[in-house]
Symmetry: C2
Subunit: 396 residues, 2 copies
């Protein structure tokens, strides 16, 4: 293939992951390879706002060997944003592209970013500006449709599954025998569901798993905790930050509804500490809460090799596909086999990916809505990229 | 040395660490080596309560090769407790020792456990029962006196320092530019202070560090956060869970003083979410909180090799020293040199270690009481057992 001409820009949107920079590296290295030397390869600083503000990062002009390091660096190397573009912004964005002769635009992100990429492409067509636009999926939430999984998910899943093993080892030996761990994921329970991988024997943590796809009442929660405590003497709960009650209200908010501080201000609170406090109060049992929060998605110590390779591969594919004249697509991952784990990449129309949330299927949630079924293991286990560290126990 | 006769029991007290089982292994393997085959080597199940309840774990009768695995397993392999013994308990405990011909008692733990070991020894003397008692220091809090550091501290320090780097990388690239991370440590700020190791350049996280040794008002906290935000555009705060205001009241409680839920119950809350909410409310800035909690002290992925080796070494020393006829001592660590890092072990009378909390010295806290001075690096850096993972940034 002859060298292509045309300037290239890539951006990162939404919350970062531990492997989003692998996707960036995959796409950028491909751009270096396929575009002629006169074509610019830019990063937009802080997501799409960097395009609007003409804040471009010159990706050609970086220290030697930097991409080998950026590839394994968590968080968004270009910076990120959470901006929804107005009609006016979209027109402006395309005008900026015209001004700088930007012919290729790739957005690495989640649902909102796919929506932005889609609208950029449509607006360019309406404005008769020839431009290719594509998306690369990225989200720990794993909630983009069409793709088998979203890069970033496997590493975050690995983090929380290992944290559940670690926490379980600690809690099991303690006189404070209850802990509620809050897990990332507002609407989708994919990450929380992955904590089931911590369990090798029936007695292992986690004993209860709550995902946002199943509404939960505080009464049911307390009943479940008491039941496990009475039976096992210790309880580790994993719960998605976004779990809601039957009325769709966040569980934390619904418990602390009238909670106000000394100044009369509302105190919404996080779900795990709120639930731990409720256990303390209702049962007089010592309960704690843990919330690794963003540490979980930024930890390079828990990156899944499968996740990182797919992140890079899908990034490379997106650039290859855009450079062969395709537009308006999201690069996606197809699982070819589990043993050995193999994937291939393909393109789906952006409109099939934008603004659609893929939730955890009902079949993976047990009947009692407080755990994840064993059938989920087949889906998730290969994505965490190798065995977790399970610990040895003395015989007694 | 001829083989010794006499039964041996070892227990683990208080909150576990990632390396407490290395101390257990060091002492137990030494017991196997020095005691004759007719002498029992027991673990007390769940700390001193296992002695009182005659719940003994037969440590000789374990699968082959298990100690190589237990050595690297976080959390308390024997189980733990937080029991303070009454006079009656102490008499009972010594009677149990007499009943089972237990001549050697070692307690691995923090201040309370050293106190228990000390009282056991004194009570045995009063009861004219010949028995040797010793303590092995263990606490992430690093607050035992006499020893250069407490096993468990270096690994927990390593965890939080790396978590601060990871969180910093994430937050720096985000439109939610403030995070408050809650760090383990109720009264002593040693672990929180170690997050200073995350900072290589002045702009790096953490920007503000608060330890319990320096009282903090909410007004001062808000002033500091705003100042850093205005100057840098992003803020990562690390704060000990136990930070108090000028009146000695926990900061979380003092803010949410009149906080009650819908049922009129007090909601004490954790310090980090309470502070993040206060930033949101006072400045209209998005702020988050993270609280790795027990995950931090149970993580085998962040174990410091220096910490683990010292944990095992001090455990082995305690057993060697007790078997040569010494009693009433805590095994302790002396730092011989920093380059290369070398330690030796020695014994201190238990009463010099029991019930004394070694707080972070004032010299390590900056004048403005919102950071840790560079001089602390020399103390803490060798303890984390090797460089942290610092990340590469693109040039822009």
């Amino acid at each position: 293939m002859d060298s292509l001409k045309g300037n290239f820009i890539i951006a990162q949107g939404g919350g970062p992951t531990a492997v989003i920079n692998a996707s960036l590296t995959g796409a950028v290295v491909e751009a270096f390879d396929k575009l002629d030397r006169s074509s610019q390869v830019w990063g937009a600083k802080d997501g799409i706002t960097g395009l609007l503000n003409e804040a471009f990062i010159d990706l050609r002009n970086q220290p030697d060997g930097i991409w080998d390091k950026i590839r394994i660096t968590p968080a968004a190397a270009l910076g990120s944003c959470r901006k929804k573009l107005t009609e006016e912004d979209l027109t402006h964005a395309v005008e900026i592209c015209r001004k700088y002769d930007i012919r290729y635009f790739i957005y690495i992100g989640g649902n909102d970013s796919m929506d932005t990429a889609n609208k950029m492409s449509k607006t360019a067509q309406e404005m008769h500006y020839e431009m290719y636009a594509a998306g690369i999926p990225k989200t720990i939430d794993n909630d983009l449709p069409e793709t088998d999984f979203c890069p970033g998910y496997g590493s975050c899943a690995r983090y929380f599954a290992q944290a559940t093993i670690d926490l379980g080892a600690d809690i099991r030996a303690l006189p404070t025998p209850i802990s509620v761990m809050e897990v990332l994921g507002r609407n989708a329970g994919w990450v929380t569901a992955a904590t089931m991988l911590a369990r090798k024997k029936p007695d292992d943590a986690p004993h209860l798993i709550y995902v946002p796809e199943a509404p939960l009442s505080i009464e049911k929660f307390l009943y479940d905790v008491k039941e496990v405590y009475d039976r096992r003497g210790w309880v580790v709960v994993t719960i998605s930050e976004g779990v809601c009650d039957e009325h769709g209200e966040s569980l934390a908010a619904s418990i602390g509804k009238a909670a106000v501080d000394g100044f009369g201000h509302a105190l919404p609170g996080d779900v795990a500490p709120t639930l731990a406090q409720t256990i303390n109060r209702e049962f007089g049992l010592r309960a704690r809460s843990e919330k690794p929060g963003l540490v979980a998605r930024a930890s390079s110590h828990h990156v899944s090799s499968v996740d990182r390779e797919a992140a890079e591969g899908v990034g490379r594919f997106a650039a290859q596909h855009i450079f062969t004249g395709n537009t308006d697509f999201m690069a996606a991952i197809k699982r070819e086999s589990n043993q050995p784990f193999k994937v291939s990449y393909f393109a789906v129309p952006l409109e099939k990916a934008a603004n659609i949330e893929r939730l955890l299927p009902r079949k993976y949630i047990n009947k009692d809505k407080n755990n994840i079924t064993d059938s989920f293991r087949k889906y998730v286990e290969p994505l965490i990229g190798g065995p977790l560290r399970h610990y040895t126990r003395l015989n007694y």
